[in-house]
Amino acid sequence: MLSAPRRSSRPEPSLADSLERWHIDMWLLLLLLAIGVIGLVVLYSASGHSLDQVMNQGERWIIGLIVMAVVAQAPPEWYRAIAPWIYSVTVILLILTLAIGATAKGAQRWLDLGFLRFQPSEMMKLAMPMTVAAFLHGRNLPPRIITMLIALVMVLVPFALIAKQPDLGTALLVIAAGFFALFFAGFRWRWMIGALAALGAAAPLMWNKLHDYQRQRILTLLDPESDPLGTGYHITQSKIAIGSGGLFGKGWLNGSQAKLDFLPESHTDFIFAVYSEEFGLLGILLLLIIYLAVVARGLFIAARAQDTFQRLLAASLSMTFFIYVFINMGMVIGLLPVVGVPLPLVSYGGTSIVTLLTGFGMLMSVQTHRKLLSS
């Protein structure tokens, strides 16, 4: 009724509105770009002033942003429809990886398709929340036991396949993605507590299943100085880098730990240590706030989503992103064992950036394809 006069007095469309018409969420985009800029700046220092690596990373960002924009164009329903297919294909690829995959650094993670080398486990990071969300969509929530059990199988099969590679970090992120979908669907607390208790009981069993190097990493976490030149070296040098950074940091390009090669994996998994050394606690707070803002925006989108699938997908993607950040920072500062989880959008490495931005593309799709149901 009141729409006509309002339309006439409508001001010039804001940037947010313009972008939304192209199915891009401005807040997410700005926050992601901020992380990207910080990431490239740190990478230049962490890689030992390698412009090549920065250019490479920049290329991946561009690819990732294009993919994100494309992904955002498709409506969420479409993703719900293709979820089972993507999941099935990814599981098959994971099995193939274990059978014929390329081995690097003692783990079989890569699938070489001749024209393309990629990690199917990365795909699973997206396939998992999509599939669980799609499965729960349209079912009575909170889910019944049988639903839960089916969902658990859907989660545990890829987890087992990835953990077998072995790639504990990715496996944890995949299981987290599936778990968050269940959690937001209303997975009952008592079941969750029961599951945790069962997990605790199974811990000794799992300990035996762990590879020696994985066990060593956990032991190292407890006492890194016990073996300062062996497994503890990473964590010790990382703590030295972070601690010596202090409140304000040593300044860009002035971190001696990374520059003089004391810090291993300084441009990949341990890039956060370089950032901490050069930008100090204040720099970290800035980065952490940006990350939390991304998560907050994601949860906000989820809260405003219009159906179960969208809600669960958006919330699960957001929380997985946070877990990503938490595991990486936690391991670099010596709170968590060293599992190979990169710092999202900052660590050097192509697949994870594209995967993450694809996920944000889906979030944007959820945000920008809302229909005006009631107003």
Binding site: G138, A185, I242, L260, A315
Partner: protein, 648 residues
């Protein structure tokens, strides 16, 4: 089917559950973020200093810069010890990969002995990571060239130019100059490691040892930034060290060479002192050794050979050899007789070739079996009549002899600024009771009266005794370092001679009597050193000595001809002298082991080096001639000179 289920969906409840859980998730995220921040505050704020230090420890490497060792010159400025550039093969084990393979490939280029490799592996264990460990010293130019051609094959193996100690005079001054050698484990425990940063050698004997502190200098350090692989990237800081002081010895290398040559094939020792200031002009011990062997790192076989050589080349006879002084003690004995008023110079004894203590049938023989006839003191000294001194000793008694001889420093180290000096023995009643648990027998007094029996002295003490007689009781503590020079500023600091408490006689004329008797030895017909003394262009005051090594049978009526006695049982030839007698400039003590008679063997040696010193061009490096040191009156106020010396 999906449609049907849809109907039962509680959309509102579902959304509520979700919102609750989203809030819970958000709060959990914040809580986890707080955990991260708390940990970061712990690392970056609370433990910031600790981790900063660790980061600096990581990147900073202190590389010691060893000081350049001071040079040693003689009084003329002739080099006695210098530093020569030498190429050292060093291996950094962390960069060389498999050590055994690396050494094997190296062996085709540079000769390595099993000893080199064993020594190297020992050093590797004790060297911090990423440091070069010396494998071989003194590479030849050819070896360096061969290495350079093949150097791309060798990782972590470097040829570095270093300095090695070189001793131009070699054997002639080996004991007195000494040598540097590798610091061994016991020394490592003792020394101040801060002063030996980067040094692998230290002075072991001679001046190199006694003046180690001065010669060594202070090490500096470079603080270098290095990466995780130990590769030095840049110099952050430089701590300046100080080179060692150059030393000018009072030693005269020309006199030293003459003395060394004069001993010929004999083993023995020669010490020459300037009595006017205590400066050691020459100090020879034969046989010598090549000090270079030690500074370059002696191998076990050579070292064992030197150590087990029956001629004991490593033994410094001048300071460590203790020998019976023989008749060289007679002037001091005569002086004691005069001073204690037990004889007058004119007092005579009859020498019939032997002496018997009253009430004893044991015969104490004079070296001249036929006897000297009536002897006064001058003649007793001149002709070295044993009977005269048996009688004198008997009259003096052991206590007074001990007092007189000790006054001349016999049986005690002279305190010369060289290591390992021995004291010898001046026996006394008290000593015999303590050491032998026996009473003193009068016959033993006779023996020490002619410098035999228990009495032993070093050649250094003999020279010093001559110097003190020459100075009529004055004299200085012998010393060999004449001056030190700052290697950078070239400021020279003279070492002040230390005057000894004078031997004061109640009747100073007694000096004249004894000295004139000693002049008689060399100047008058019948004097035992007449042969070498009468034609000298300066007056020599001297005393010969022949110290018995093997005992003689009581009934042996005639001394055996020297040639018939096995060498190791032949007498030691001794000689003390000073000259010019009226203005003493040099005092000499000579000992030729198993040389036979002092008069025929030791005296000509002394003459040769006195000629060299008194007639040759012996000056200090600045052209001045040696002069007498001023004996400071302990009661006088410090003079201006003292202040200047102290300020230096």
């Amino acid at each position: 089917m999906g449609q049907r289920r849809e109907k039962f969906k509680d959309l509102h409840g579902e959304k509520n559950t979700f919102l609750n859980r989203a809030v819970f998730a958000g709060v959990t995220c914040l809580a986890l973020a707080v955990v991260l921040v708390a940990r970061l505050i712990n690392l970056q704020v609370m433990n910031h200093d600790y981790y900063s230090t660790r980061a600096d420890d990581n990147r900073m490497r202190i590389t010691p810069v060893p000081p350049v060792r001071g040079l040693i010159y003689d009084r003329n400025g002739t080099l006695l010890a210098e530093n020569r550039p030498a190429f050292v093969l060093e291996v950094t084990p962390e960069q060389a990969g498999n050590l055994d393979d690396a050494l094997k490939s190296l062996e085709s280029v540079i000769a390595l002995t099993p000893k080199d490799i064993a020594r190297f592996k020992e050093r590797v264990r004790k060297t911090p990571r990423y440091r070069g460990v010396p494998l071989r010293n003194n590479l030849s130019m050819e070896e360096v060239a061969r290495y350079e051609i093949n150097r791309h094959d060798f990782h972590g193996i470097d040829v570095n130019a270093g300095l090695t100690r070189n001793y131009p005079l070699s054997l002639a001054a080996s004991h007195v100059v000494g040598y540097v050698g590798a610091i061994n484990e016991e020394e490592l425990k003792e020394l101040d490691s801060a002063q030996y940063q980067g040094l692998i050698q230290m002075g072991k004997v001679g001046v190199e040892k006694s003046q180690e502190e001065l010669l060594r200098g202070t090490p500096g350090a470079k603080i270098i930034e290095a990466n995780a692989y130990g590769r030095p990237l840049r110099e952050l800081d430089y701590r300046k060290g100080a080179p060692g002081k150059n030393l000018y010895l009072s030693l005269d290398s020309k006199v030293q060479a003459v003395a060394e040559a004069a001993l010929g094939d004999l083993n023995g020792a020669i010490v020459a002192i300037d009595p006017r200031n205590g400066e050691v002009i020459a100090m020879v011990s034969k046989p010598g050794f090549d000090p270079q062997l030690f500074s370059e790192g002696v191998d076990a076989v050579t070292y064992k050979a030197l150590n087990t050589d029956p001629n004991r080349p490593l033994f410094n006879r001048a300071l460590q050899g203790t020998y019976p002084p023989g008749s060289t003690v007679k002037p001091a004995m005569a002086l004691a007789g005069l001073e204690f008023n037990v004889v007058a110079p004119e007092h005579k004894e009859f020498c019939k070739g032997e002496y018997m203590l009253p009430g004893s049938s044991r015969k104490y023989r004079c070296w001249k079996r036929a006897g000297h006839g009536w002897m006064d003191m001058t003649q007793g000294v001149m002709k070295s009549c044993d009977v005269y001194f048996y009688a004198l000793a008997n009259t003096l008694g052991v206590d007074r002899i001990y007092e007189a001889m000790s006054g001349f420093g016999l049986g005690k180290p002279t305190g010369v600024d060289l290591p390992l000096e021995k004291g010898g023995l001046m026996p006394s009643r008290e000593w015999k009771r303590r050491a032998r648990k026996e009473n003193w027998y009068p016959g033993e007094t006779l023996n020490i009266g002619i410098g035999q029996g228990y009495m032993t002295t070093t050649p250094m003490q003999l020279a010093q005794m001559a110097a003190r007689i020459a100075m009529r009781g004055g004299g200085f503590k012998p010393h060999i370092v004449h001056s030190t020079e700052d290697a950078l500023t070239k400021v020279v600091t003279l070492v002040k001679p230390e005057a000894l408490p004078p031997i004061v006689l109640q009747n100073p004329k007694n000096w004249d009597a004894v000295i004139s008797a000693m002049e008689g030895v060399a100047q008058l017909q019948g004097g035992t050193a007449y042969k070498i003394g009468h034609d000298a262009p300066y007056r020599i005051a001297a005393k010969t000595g022949t110290a018995q090594v093997a005992g003689m049978a009581q009934n042996e009526a005639k001394a055996r001809a020297m040639e018939t006695i096995p060498v190791h049982l032949r007498d030691h030839a001794l000689f003390i002298a000073f000259a010019p007698a009226d203005d003493p400039k040099i005092a000499v003590g000579v000992l030729a082991e198993h040389g036979g008679h002092g008069a025929s063997v030791a005296a000509p040696i002394a003459r040769k080096l006195m000629d060299m010193y008194l007639l040759g061009e012996v000056r200090y490096r600045d052209g001045t001639e040696p002069v007498a040191a001023v004996v400071a009156d302990p009661n006088a106020a410090p003079t201006e000179d003292d202040d200047i010396n102290d300020a230096r």
